[in-house]
Amino acid sequence: MLEQRKKMIEYIVQEVMRRPDTKVEENTPLVSSGLIDSLALVDILLRLEDLTNLRIPAGKVQAKDMDTVELMFSTAQRVGKPRKG
C-alpha cells in the first residue's frame, strides 16, 4: 500500500473517527457505511490535497467519490491540478 494511503487511513481512524481500534482498509466504505459523516469529508479533502500535493477544484468531487480511501486517491488523480507554490 502506498505510504500516502496509509497516512490517510491513519488520519481517518485517529482524527476523524477517533476510534483507533477500528479496522479500515483501502476499500472500506466510509460514508455509505456510516463510519464517518459527510460533514467530515471537508477535513478529509483538505488532507487529501496535502498528501497528494494537488489542488482539487471546487464542484468536481461528490461525496460518492470519497467513499473509500482508494476512491479518494483515484478521484484526486482524475480531477486534481498541480498546486501553486
Binding site: 481500534d21 460514508v31 463510519l35 461525496a63
Partner: protein, 573 residues
Amino acid sequence: MNEIKSPHAFPFRTLPEALLAAPPEKPFVTMWTSEDEVHSVTFGEFTKHALQQAGYLRSQGVRTGDTVVLILPQGIPVMTAFAGAMFLGAVPAILAYPNFKVEPAKYRFGLQGVTANLKARLILVDQEFPDELMQHVRVEGAARLVRCDGEGSSAVTADVAQGINPDQLAFIQHSAGTTGLQKGVALSHQAVLTQIHLLSQALRIGPEDRIYSWLPIYHDMGLIACFMLPLVCHTPLVMQSPTGWVMQPATMLELISAYRCSLAWIPNFTLQFLARRVRPGDRSSFDLSCLRALINCSEPVRASSMDEFLAAYPAAGLSPNVLQSCYAMAETVFAATQSDVTQPGPRRIWVDGESFRKQKLAVPVSKDSPGALCLVSSGSCLPNTQIRIVSGEEKELGPGGVGEILIHCDSMLDGYYNRPDLTAKALRDGWYWSGDLGFLLNGELYVIGRKKDLIIVAGENIYPQDVEEIVSAHPAIYDGRVVAFGQFNPALGTEEIFVVAEVRKEDDLQNSPGIDRALRTAITSELGVGVGSIFLKPPRWIVKSTAGKPARSTTREKLLSEHAELRAQGESS
C-alpha cells in the same frame, strides 16, 4: 385571534402573479456547480421554463388542486417545476433527492409513506434518478411516477390557471428531514406573501440586493428565504448545492465575492466551517464588503461561532453589521423574529448561570460575573407576530422566564397536511406550540434549545425516535432499550447523534465493534446522516421512567457522568 392583520403591500395576490410581474430581463437564478459549469436564467427565461414545465405536468394529468411531489436535485429545473405546478393551481412539495447512501428498500418505504400522506397525483423525478431506486418505488392509488421531460423543454406551454384564490394552498413544505414523522406544512399564497412582505421590510430588501445560498431547497430556509423571497421581491440569486458547499466551504465566500452578493442565510455551524476549514492562505483573497447580512438561523445562535468567524476574516472587508439572526420555522412560513440589520448584531447578554439552570430564569449580570453565560438574541417579532412563553404547567412567564415558545401570527400554517391529529397538538386557540425553549427580554427573543429532544444536525431536524427505532431492530439490542440524543460537537459547530443501547446479553459486548458498524450502516442508509458515538451497555443500564420507557434526559446525564470527557467537550463551546 383576529387582532393581527397585516395585509401585504405587493401589487399581486398570488405567487404566480408575483413571478409574472418580474422584469423579464433581470437576472434571477445563477446555479453554480463548478468553475466551468454555471447556468443562469433571467426572470423571463425562468418564467418561460416554468410555463413549459406546467405544460408537461398538465400533459401528465395534473390539474388545479392536485399535489405534485418533486424529487429533483438542487438546481433550476426543480425550481421551474415548482413554479410550473403553481401556475396550474396545483400544490407542489419538494422532497430531498436520494443521496448515494440510501438503501433502496428503505427509500421505497419512506417515499410510500410521504406520498400516501400527501395524496400525490404525480411524483416527478429527473432523468438521472437511479434506476435501482426507480424499480423499487411503488406508488399507490391515483398517483403516477414519471421522469421529467429533459430540461423541462416541453413544446407545450400551459396557460396560467385563472382565478387562483389567495387563500388557496400554494405549496407544502416539510418541517423535518426524516420520513417516519414527516409533517407537511400546508401554506396559502396569502400566508407566504404576508411573510415575505414583512421579512423583506425588516431586511430592507432593495433593488441592489443579491442573495447567495447553498441551502437545500426542500428546507424552509432554502425554500422561503432563498427561492420564494427572491421570486417575489425580484431579487437575483446565486446558488450551489449543499453537498458542493459542505465539501469545499470556501466556495461560498468565493461566490459571494465574485457575484457581489449582499444577503445569505446560514445555520450556525457554517460560521465555524468557514473559520476552521478554509486554509488561512486562501482567506485573504475574498472581498466580502458587499455582504450586508449573514443571517444565522435554524440552529441555536452561538456567540463563540460568530467571534471565530470574524476573527478568521479580519481583512475581508466585513461590515460591522454583517452577523444577524432570526428565529424561523416552516409552521410560520419562515421567520417569527429578526434582528435589526441596521445595527451591529445580534444583541448578546450575560445571565447568571445558577439562576438559569436551577430556577429557569435569565437574570442579566455583567460579562465578568463568575459563572455568567453568554446568550445571543434572535431579534424581535415581525410586526404580524406575537410570542408568549409558558412554563411546563402552561402558565404564562414574564421577562427572563424560560419556557416553551408559543407563536401567533397571520402567516401561519393552515395545518399539517392530512394530519389533523398533529395539527390539534401543535395549534391551540390560534397559537402554535413550537416545542422550542426560550425567553423574552426587552422585547427580544432568546432561543435556548428544544423541549422535544429534537436533534439538529447541521440545520437538519432528526427525531430521536427514528434513530431509536432503527437501533432497536438489531438482533443483539434489547428492543426498546435505546436512547438517542444530540450532543454539541465544538469542532463541527453542530450537534452529533449519540446513541446509548443495551445489548440483550452481556456477552454480546465482546462483539461491540461489529454491532457498532452494523448500527451505523443501518442509521445512515435510512436517515442519511452519520452518527457521532454509539455506547453499547450491559442489560438494565438505561434509566427508565415511571411509565417504563427509557428516560432520555436521565440516561443522557448518566452517560455524561460516566464519560466526563464528553461533558467537557460539549461545554467548551
